[in-house]
């Protein structure tokens, strides 16, 4: 908290309470204590006062006690000489300001000074008044005045959209923009994002309301821009609206101040945009808004309050207009609004994928044959890669899509060209570890477009565009549009900005590819370094409980889910995106036995997750309390007692195994969420993990393995053999080409000198 801001906010609040007391005394004198006070068409009395204090104010005579309460919240300004705490004092002063501002506006309603008169002004839809003199012949509110407080009817319509997320948030704009053009652009940028605009305040008598009115911008309910009044105090209507949202849609009652404030912080994505110089009163009102969790962004130089606390992110941010990068007011306005969105954590919604071909998951499996193809990237004739990296929020422009190099119009039909897709994402919740998780989604996202085929990933990506899609107008930029839309809609919880660059200029492709490959290597190493000992939580996965109700996967860095689709990083990302979803963190807690792989946390979770069926689970053993399986495992590992080892059968292997059963028969034993010592379903990448049945002797226990695994994982298995100190280890393992019975297996092991023969008995 800045002492400068604290001083000015506290000073502003003191001044306002003094002013209000004088004003109220005069009103009581002139109008009498029984004079009714009310905002038009609301059942929530004076809403901020009602929400924060529970007082149901209906008469002038009840207002003095509100001001007394406000006065009690005031504090002396912080000492210049000694450091004293002032965050609480500042927030109190902010609250005092809100109670007082609402009191003043209520008195002004009594005097007919609210809604504020503005001759010649035409409201495009606004609060309906019960008092007939404010309405015209049709009962519509008459022209010549601003809107003042929002009525309950409009609150219901907008409030529900704010709560259910259809409307991302509201902006309380206070003051006057640098120019009329800037004012128009700021409001346009907010409207474009479906953000509600509440307008109030002025700088030396000029308000953004005047600016917009002069430029012919229609203001009112119909255009989602509500002119409250040209003074700062009318901004109180924004907080009255916020308070009533919590009362109406949050099931809260008047007087539940803390709950109402928290509700707004968590659910109503509002912020204050202060345009022009910030005076004491504005600081005081801003301190009031911060109580609601609404941060303040100013377009002038003011001290900032960056630490997180009462608001979700920064409290006060200064972004001076003339320092904003941008060629013109349009670009500056866009940057400013983008900053507001970041500071408040407003989530942008992209409803549709804007491409000229049909889009949906139904097209994911579509194949584009050579004959139907317009152009391809990757495969044999050219290079294609995709690379997603994290960037700083400030460095990206959301939705910017750039094609660097030629498009494919010059390429012959069925021709080929180089392409590199570089995606930069930024977000408050984004972590570098999520890069590969997001990058793998490109495959699904791109495949969703009809007439586009995507195969592979990283630098072995291979993309085809069909002639039909090309004729429909699909071009390179559309890849960017797809990715921008889908990353926002599917990963909005961790991604706030997405920027895509498509490189086709061969030199650039070369250069970017080199950078990408360095990162791929880095990620591979990162995965190697990411060991079970290096983390303090694993993740659960209960995705398969729909058909195996008592099975729960425990996913650790060195043991991925048995389906092969979810590793530890995927689970971590999934939890961040969907905190109530199927992947929950499991705090490991006390180590029970690190050889077998028992922790207090994993055991406790196994009990809860399996609904009491599984008491304990050993992460690294097939012999003792092995992990259960649903049915979607990639491989089955099974004990061959005679061989003092295990066999590994791939899902893709239909032949007979030394256990006398094929994969499909074995699957019945391995699945269903039952713990069967000696049988386990696993993901195939667990085979190469140093923690693969490490309690039972590790990979050297593998005496037989489906040849398809040997072939498709040759590189990885070679590394495992080297790690085991026996480069010929894989060749010592039998497969279905040489051995299909136990009788054949033992002589084969003797002949090939399999290490399991000389290992300790497995049980």
């Amino acid at each position: 908290m800045s002492r400068y801001i604290a001083t000015r906010a506290i000073r502003g609040a003191n001044a306002l309470v003094n002013e209000a007391e004088a004003m109220l005394a005069r009103a009581l004198d002139e109008k009498g204590p029984d004079t009714p006070v009310a905002f038009p068409n609301t059942a929530y009395y004076l809403p901020v006062i009602y929400g924060m204090t529970g007082r149901e104010i209906e008469k002038l005579g009840e207002l003095p006690e509100v001001l007394t309460q406000a006065r009690n919240l005031l504090h002396p300004t912080p000492s210049q000489r000694h450091w004293t705490p002032y965050l609480g004092e500042t927030l109190d002063s902010g609250m005092a300001t809100l109670l007082t501002a609402e009191t003043i506006e209520a008195i002004r309603y009594v005097y007919g000074m609210q809604p504020e008169l503005l001759p010649g002004f035409e409201l495009a839809g606004g609060t309906a008044f019960t008092s007939p003199d404010m309405n015209d012949a049709e009962g519509e509110s008459a022209n010549g005045h601003l809107n003042g407080a929002i009525d309950d009817i409009q609150l219901r319509s907008w409030g529900i959209q704010l709560v259910d997320g259809r409307m991302p948030g509201f902006a309380a704009i206070v003051g006057c923009a640098k120019s009329n053009e800037a004012a128009v652009q700021i409001v346009r940028e907010l409207q474009r994002r479906n953000i509600l605009c509440f307008l109030s305040g002025n700088i030396n008598g000029r308000s953004i309301i005047h600016q917009l009115d002069e430029e012919g911008v229609e203001l009112g309910y119909d255009t989602y821009t509500v002119p409250f009044g040209t003074d700062t105090l009318s901004a109180i209507y924004a907080l009255g609206f916020a308070t009533r949202s919590a009362l109406t849609f949050g099931g809260l009652k008047g007087g539940q101040a803390r709950e109402i404030l928290t509700y707004n912080k968590d659910r109503v994505f509002a912020f204050v945009l202060a345009l022009g110089e910030v005076d004491d009163l504005k600081y005081a009102a801003a301190a009031g808004a911060i109580n609601f969790g609404f941060p303040v962004v100013a377009d002038t130089v003011i001290p900032q309050i960056l630490p997180t606390g009462v608001t979700t992110y920064e409290h006060v941010v200064s972004l001076p207009w003339n320092e904003i990068e941008g060629a013109d007011d349009v670009e500056k306005a866009e940057r400013l609004v983008q900053k507001c969105i970041e500071v408040r954590g407003v989530k942008v919604q992209v409803a549709d994928v804007p491409v000229p071909v049909p889009y949906g998951s139904a097209f994911e499996g579509e194949v584009v044959r050579k004959a139907d193809m317009r152009v391809e990237f990757g495969g044999r004739g050219s290079r294609c890669f995709e690379y997603l990296k994290m960037a700083k929020l400030d460095d990206l422009t959301d939705g910017k899509i750039e094609v660097v190099g030629p498009d494919f119009s010059e390429v012959d039909d069925q021709g080929t060209m180089d392409m590199g897709i570089v995606i930069e994402v930024a977000g408050r919740q984004m972590e570098q570890d999520f890069e590969p998780v997001l990058e793998r989604q490109i495959h699904y996202f791109v495949n969703g477009a009809s007439g586009i085929q995507h195969i592979g990933q990283r630098d072995i990506a291979w993309i085809r565009i069909s002639s039909k899609a090309a004729d429909a107008g699909f071009n390179l930029e559309d890849f960017g549009k797809i990715l921008h839309a889908r990353f926002h809609s599917d990963f909005g919880a961790i991604v706030d900005k997405v920027q895509v660059t498509i490189h086709t200029e061969p030199g650039q492709v070369e250069e970017r590819l080199r950078e990408a490959r360095e990162t791929y290597d880095f990620r591979n190493k990162r995965l190697e370094d990411l060991t079970d000992d290096a983390v303090d939580e694993f993740y659960s996965c209960t995705l398969c409980q729909s058909f195996a109700p008592n099975h729960v996967c425990i996913v650790s860095p060195e043991r991925l889910g048995l389906c092969g689709a979810y590793n530890w990083l995927d689970c971590k990302a999934s939890f961040n995106i969907n905190p109530t979803g199927p992947n929950q963190p499991i705090k490991l807690g006390r180590k029970v036995d690190t050889d077998q792989g028992y922790w207090e946390g994993t055991n406790d979770y196994a009990k809860v997750g399996s609904h009491g069926v599984v008491e304990e689970v050993a992460m690294y053993s097939i012999m003792e309390n092995p992990m259960t399986a649903c049915g979607c495992f990639e491989c089955i590992v099974m004990l061959i007692p005679e061989a003092n080892g295990v066999m590994v059968v791939s899902r893709e292997d239909t032949s007979m195994t030394p256990a006398g059963m094929t994969f499909s028969t074995l699957a019945g034993m391995a699945g269903g969420g039952i713990q069967t010592p000696g049988v386990m379903g696993v993901g195939k990448f667990y085979l190469i993990s140093p923690k693969f049945i490490s309690a039972d002797g590790g990979f050297k226990r593998v005496v037989w393995m489906s040849s398809i695994l040997k072939d498709t994982m040759a590189e990885e298995l070679k590394a495992v053999a080297e790690r085991a100190g026996d480069t010929e280890l894989i060749d010592r393992i039998a497969d279905e080409r040489s051995v299909t019975t136990v009788e054949e297996l033992l002589p084969w092991m003797e002949e090939n000198n399999h290490p399991a023969l000389t290992m300790d008995p497995i049980f």
């Binding site: 219901r156 409030g159 529900i160 709560v163 259910d164 997320g165 259809r166 109406t248 849609f249 949050g250 099931g251 809260l252 509700y263 209960t542 409980q545 729909s546 109700p549 109530t580 979803g581 199927p582 609904h611 009491g612």
Partner: protein, 323 residues
């Protein structure tokens, strides 16, 4: 020889939920219906007394439902053209609750409009004193478009509004909270999804005693085992103390069975299938009674004879209630 019956002593219980509000309570219903409160598996009278009997809701539509089996339309005859009269007929037939189910289309072939939907709800509320469940067609956007104004116009009635699903629960929950209604959450036959939706809805501030869940089920011969098993597991979890599964369940055997060939088709079927109406009613009754055994607190039916038979079955099951 005396036999000791082994008894379970469950730590958890199902929440009690009251549907509808009388004029004293801010609504216009002549009576309310209370469901849930279960402290043991259904009809284990020797363990715990049944807190509230399972109740039977009858489904009606705002206009003649063209896709309904002719058997049903014939049975109800002309009342199907007037939701008020239909609701009344259901009340006379002995229903505990009315479920007004909107389809995608209104009376003509027009898409259902919010104002017409609202007036249909008011007609039904005017015609019957029973508590009312109002369900949209199950497409998030359309559900939102009609349920929000309905909720606004019937504030205080403690209607059950649905369907809350993953995609639109926020809108329906918010409007239920603003207008003192209840909600029905539906998830596709999955314990964890059901639980997750309950977490998300209560996270918005909606109290647990204003949520009913529909875990979805299938008709006899069309996946009832799957639905039964999910309901049973939800109920077991509730009794074991998992708060986010402790909600009463409402399922729709009427809808499920009357769309099967056995109930819908009368001609060109094997003779061994027997008389058409009898077959349909049997199908609906058996499905409903099975689901009640799985823990359903509300079953939604379509045929008045099924209502009688299910009622008789519940009476039978409850006859063993001893203290």
């Amino acid at each position: 020889m005396p036999i000791d019956i082994p008894m379970d002593n469950w730590p958890g219980s199902v929440k009690t939920v009251t549907l509808g509000a009388t004029s004293d309570q801010g609504g216009t219903r002549s009576s309310t219906v209370t469901i849930g409160g279960d402290q043991s598996l259904p009809f284990m009278h020797f363990e715990k007394p049944t807190a509230n009997r399972p109740v039977i809701a009858m489904e009606i539509a705002p206009a003649r439902p063209a896709e309904w089996s002719p058997v049903l339309l014939e049975t109800w005859s002309e009342v199907v053209d007037d939701p008020g009269a239909w609701a009344n007929a259901c009340e006379e037939a002995g229903a505990d609750l009315i479920v007004l189910q909107f389809g995608l289309k209104g009376a003509g072939d027009e898409p259902i409009a919010a104002d017409l939907a609202t007036s249909a709800v008011k007609t039904v509320l005017g015609a019957t004193g029973l508590p009312l469940v109002v369900l949209g067609p199950g497409q998030a956007e359309i559900d939102n478009a009609i349920l929000v104004p309905i909720a606004d116009e019937t504030k205080g009635e403690r209607l059950v509004l649905g369907l809350c699903e993953d995609g639109n629960y926020r809108t329906i929950v918010a409007s239920a909270m603003a207008n003192d209604h209840l909600v029905l959450g539906r998830t596709p036959m999955d314990v964890n999804l059901a639980k997750q939706l309950n977490i998300l809805m209560t996270d918005m501030g909606l109290p647990l005693d204003r949520i009913v869940m529909d875990p979805t089920t299938g008709a006899l011969g069309y996946g009832i085992e799957y639905g039964y098993s999910v309901m049973e597991r939800l109920r077991l979890a509730a009794l074991q103390g998992d708060a986010m599964t402790q909600l009463p369940m409402m399922v729709n055997p009427g809808f499920e069975t009357w769309k099967t060939k056995e109930s819908k088709v009368g001609e060109g079927v094997p003779e061994a299938w027997g008389e058409w109406t009898e077959r349909g009613v049997n199908w609906e009754t058996l499905t409903a009674v099975s689901l009640i055994e799985a823990g359903a607190n509300v079953v939604v039916l379509r045929h008045p004879d099924s209502l009688k038979r299910v009622r008789a079955a519940i009476d039978d099951l409850m006859a063993f209630e001893t203290v």
